[in-house]
């Protein structure tokens, strides 16, 4: 209560400061004049009364200052004085100010940028209706995680779940629009989708449960704002137009708003009611099939319900479903609920990446701060006179300390502003690269600004506190040297870590670009005919695929054709976690036809290839064989109880290109797999011309198909490109850190030398050898650099385990990266130390000694 009153009074005094000052003045004057009047009344002469009133009142200014102090304004006033003084000081040495702000802008800007991304993904909620109660519902069992569930189960959950106020389903597809070559991305959604998100239409209307759910409803389509602009030139008369999708007609009913935010970070070109899916995809059984997963499921928690309660109810409902479809519900199946109100559904492994990134960015800030700390120490020496004078006229140590720290604070805040601006531009450039939805913005919000200010405070404490303390309390020389050594050591250690990580990433990019990935992708084409979604039976699929394979083999230049169940470098991957010799290992399985290894140029190192449709036989990758049966012949061994190893293939991390630790397992594709198979076609020459030839062939066998065709080469490069960008970014950070460290070291050596010019001059005058003098000055830096390097190397070695997954098989202890980073740092440190020291040796002893 008192605290609140004080705060209110304090705010009032600050906001209405001028008013307060005049009021104080008036009140004091009133007092003195009233007293004087009373004195006159008691018989004192008028001038005498005024004089006595003033004297008895006491020093007006000192009372006023005590009144201000009573209002808690003193430290505020002093802060302003200090800030003005600091600003004047910085203005007088623009070189120092600019360097310091630049160094801080790098340190804080990098962190602000990283935090902005974190903010966007983890903290910001989507601009939709009640984002907090949105959940993504995933089908799971102890062994299997899948994002998709059968549509009939969605309907069942929707009808029976009490904990959910709404259930939405979504199914992505590619569709042909009019007769464009480029397919469009479509989402089939339940008709409550837009209403649940509270979305508004830019024109026309969006899907409406009341109008679009009826069995006799006309097929309708909603366009995305971007697609409306690109494909239809933002034609305002689009609403009501009939367009052709997959050669079927559909009426455009509206366009989503530009800032529409869709669930799961998916931004398709068009949306269609899921009940119309069989109309657009002939023979589709999506709406009735209970065996396979087809649609993603989302829900909205009913008021007062928690995700846990929903999971419990859905588990009970799943057990209910098992009675209806005993074959299709897995053992121990359950539904997992995750918050879905963010731009992306947050996965636990993302936190590991975030921790990694924030470690690196904080290291940059640490280097920047250590660097500035050194600069400030050196500056403190230059300012010894000024500070000495202030002590002499009665400033307390605390007051000097506060003033010096205020200067650091001002610098840090300027750095934060510069960092915010830098972060804004980085985001503006990068956001379009990530296909960020239109509602995201590069402009910092209150969280980012708060974060930047917090960073500035932390930085000011980190770089400003120690030097201010040291200058104000004038510690003895020994401590000064230790402070300097710690600063050097910290900078070297932090930049060492950054350089090693940068080196590892660069090596990884180099590795993936210039070494054989273990499979051939340059001349391979992937064709997903999409027959599964058209309701093909396994037998029909088999005959279709046979025909297509035969016609493809007949094409000129085609050397090999095969089938895989899990498409390569495609939209989805299949992964199994297992345990080999006590270590968790990711296994990437695939189901293939015998020619697969030939098509993909994967060498069979031992044994034989799989036979068509063979059961209980498996081919394992080389590293799996080595880990599972070290030193033994894997052929004939039992794998996962029921399968016998018939061959060993070379390592080929096709679906996890950057993870060198994964292993692969191949089984022969079975008859029932056929509707989901993807074709791989290898050509002798360049594959670029092939897609145009393949499409008409597939359509001539079955005209209702819309095969998805892509070059593996393009997909592979896309995969590597993102990684290259990351490596480039980290390299830039590493180089920036190393340069900062070099500058910091240079500054400190210059400072040390300038402090000891006289000593150097005397030694030289007495005939000391320059080499000896040099080593006497520089010896104090040798240990900090050595310890810094060792700490950096050991720290990286210990922490870089998490990097293994992205290093394309380069070891996280890659000696070249470590040696390289250490070499670069040693070179920089030597140059930074020797240059100013050599300069010092050229001083004329007599001049140096005569000086002051």
């Amino acid at each position: 209560m008192r605290l609140f009153a004080r705060l209110r009074s304090w705010m009032k005094s600050i906001v209405k400061r001028a008013l307060l000052e005049t009021a104080m003045e008036a009140e004091v004057r009133f007092h003195i004049e009233s007293y004087a009047e009373d004195l006159v009344r008691s018989g004192v002469r008028e001038e005498e009364a005024m004089r006595r009133a003033r004297i008895e009142f006491g020093g007006i200014e000192s009372h006023k200052s005590a009144m201000r102090a009573s209002l808690g304004l003193r430290w505020w006033d002093e802060l302003w004085i200090d800030l003005r003084y600091a600003a004047r000081k910085l203005h007088k040495s623009p070189g120092f100010a600019l360097t310091a702000v630049l160094v801080l802008a790098i340190g804080i800007g990098v962190n602000v940028t990283a935090f902005s991304f974190f903010n966007m993904v983890v903290l910001k909620l989507m601009p939709v209706h009640d984002p907090d109660s949105l959940v993504r519902l995933q089908r799971r069992s102890p062994e299997i995680i899948t994002p998709v569930v059968p549509y009939p189960t969605v309907v069942f959950y929707r009808e029976h779940a009490r904990t959910l106020s709404a259930v939405m389903a979504m199914m992505g597809a590619r569709m042909e629009i009019e007769s464009d070559v480029q397919p469009v991305k479509a989402d089939f959604v339940t008709v409550n989708y837009f209403r649940e998100l509270g979305s508004l239409a830019a024109c026309g209307r969006l899907l409406d449960p009341a109008r679009d759910d009826a069995s006799d409803a006309v097929p309708v389509v909603v366009l995305s704002f971007g697609f409306w602009q690109r494909r239809f030139g933002a034609d305002p008369s689009i609403v009501g137009r009939v367009i052709r999708l997959n050669k079927k007609t559909a009426t455009v009913i509206g366009v989503t708003s530009n800032t529409f935010s869709s669930l799961g970070g998916q931004y398709p070109d068009i949306w269609l009611p899921i009940t119309e899916q069989p109309y657009f995809v002939d023979g589709s059984k999506v709406l009735t099939d209970t065996s396979g997963g087809n649609v993603e499921m989302w829900g909205r928690l009913a008021p007062g319900m928690t995700a846990k309660m929903a999971e419990q109810e859905l588990l009970a409902l799943t057990n209910e479903l098992r009675k209806q479809y005993p074959k299709d519900i897995w053992d121990h199946e359950f539904i997992k609920s995750d918050p879905a109100g963010h731009i992306q559904v947050i996965k636990p492994e993302m936190y590991q990446v975030m921790a990694m990134v924030s470690t690196l960015t904080l290291l940059i800030l640490a280097v920047a701060c250590a660097n500035l700390g050194g600069l400030l120490l050196a500056r403190g020496v230059q300012r010894e006179r000024e500070i000495g004078i202030r002590f002499a006229i009665g400033a307390s140590k605390a007051r000097i300390f506060r003033q010096l720290f205020t200067e650091s604070l001002l610098l840090a805040l300027l750095g934060a502003v510069a960092g915010l601006i830098a972060g804004y531009f980085v985001l503006r450039v990068t956001l379009p690269r990530f296909e960020a939805p239109a509602w995201t913005s590069a402009a910092p919000d209150w969280r980012v600004i708060l974060f930047a200010v917090g960073m500035a405070l932390a930085a000011a404490i980190f770089f400003g506190l120690a030097p201010a303390w040291q200058i104000a309390w004038r510690r003895q020389r020994q401590r000064k040297t230790i402070a300097r050594q710690v600063l050097v050591g910290a900078q070297v250690a932090a930049s060492c870590v950054l350089l090693i990580v940068a080196g590892l990433l660069v090596r990884a990019v180099h590795h993936v670009m210039f070494t054989d990935p273990g499979f051939g992708y340059e001349q391979v084409l992937s064709i997903d005919p999409g027959i599964g979604s058209h309701g093909y039976t396994p037998a029909a699929a088999q005959s279709f695929l046979n025909e297509l394979q035969n016609r493809l083999r007949a094409l000129p230049g085609v050397t090999s054709v095969s089938l895989v169940k899990v498409s390569l470098l495609g939209h989805s991957i299949s992964r199994m976690g297992t345990d080999i010799g006590g270590h968790p290992v990711d296994v990437y399985p695939n189901w293939v036809t015998p020619e697969f290894f030939q098509t993909m140029d994967i060498p069979l190192l031992r044994g034989r290839s799989l036979l068509a449709g063979e059961k209980n036989a498996v081919i394992v990758s080389e590293s799996l064989a080595r880990q599972q049966w070290p030193g033994e012949d894997p052929i004939g061994k039992q794998f996962w109880q029921k399968d016998t190893v018939v061959g060993v293939a070379g390592n080929a991390h096709i679906n996890a290109v950057n993870d060198g630790d994964t292993v692969e397992v191949y089984w022969a594709a079975q008859a029932e797999d056929m509707p989901g198979m993807t074709l791989l076609v290898k050509t002798a020459g360049a594959p670029e011309g092939l897609p145009a030839m393949v499409k008409p062939i597939a359509e001539s066998i079955d005209p209702k198909l819309f095969p998805e065709i892509y070059l593996l080469k393009a997909a592979f490069h896309q995969n590597v490109l993102n990684f290259e960008l990351a490596a480039a970014a980290v390299s830039m950070l590493g180089i920036a850190a190393a340069l900062l460290a070099a500058m910091g070291l240079l500054g400190l050596v210059v400072y040390t030398v300038s402090e000891r010019t006289k000593e150097i001059a005397i030694r030289i005058a007495l005939g000391a050898k320059p080499a000896h003098v040099l080593s006497a000055i520089l010896r104090q830096f040798v240990w900090p650099i050595a310890i810094g390097l060792l700490t950096g190397v050991a720290g990286t070695a210990a922490l870089s385990q998490v990097l293994r997954k992205v290093l394309f098989g380069v070891s996280n202890l890659d000696p070249l990266s470590y040696a390289g980073a250490m070499g670069v740092l040693l070179m920089i440190a030597t140059a930074a130390a020797l240059l100013p020291a050599r300069q010092a040796l050229r001083v004329d002893p007599m001049r140096a000694l005569r000086c002051d």
Binding site: R6, Y35, G58, S70
Partner: protein, 113 residues
């Protein structure tokens, strides 16, 4: 009338609260009233009254308002707030307990031990 007594450390706040509790007063009026009810026995350094007034207002124990004084001039009048009244009450109680305790100690004779 004997020699004026110097104010005990920390009692000025209490006296101001008491003075203001009898009715709104401007700063000079507070001074006069304290002197009047103390029978002119207390000497208060005039200027030091104001930092105390400001402190009490800052703490929300008294409130101020501009009004017209007896000599028809604008003056700032202080009055007790609810929080101030509670504070005065508890301080008075504390003071009384303290005073009687000290008094009883000082009156102690050797027979009573």
């Amino acid at each position: 009338m004997g020699n004026p007594i110097d104010l005990l450390q920390g009692t000025l706040d209490m006296l101001i609260l008491k003075a203001v509790s009898l009715g709104p007063l401007h700063g000079y009026g507070v001074l006069l009233r304290i002197q009047q009810i103390s029978g002119e026995q207390l000497e208060i350094q005039q200027g030091s009254l104001y930092p105390a007034l400001y402190r009490l207002e800052h703490q929300g124990l008294i409130a101020s308002e501009w009004g017209e004084s007896d000599n028809k001039r604008k003056a700032k009048f202080y009055s007790l707030t609810a929080a101030g009244r509670r504070e005065l009450h508890s301080e008075t109680e504390k003071w009384n307990r303290m005073a009687s305790l000290i008094a009883s100690i000082l009156h102690t004779t050797s027979e009573e031990l």
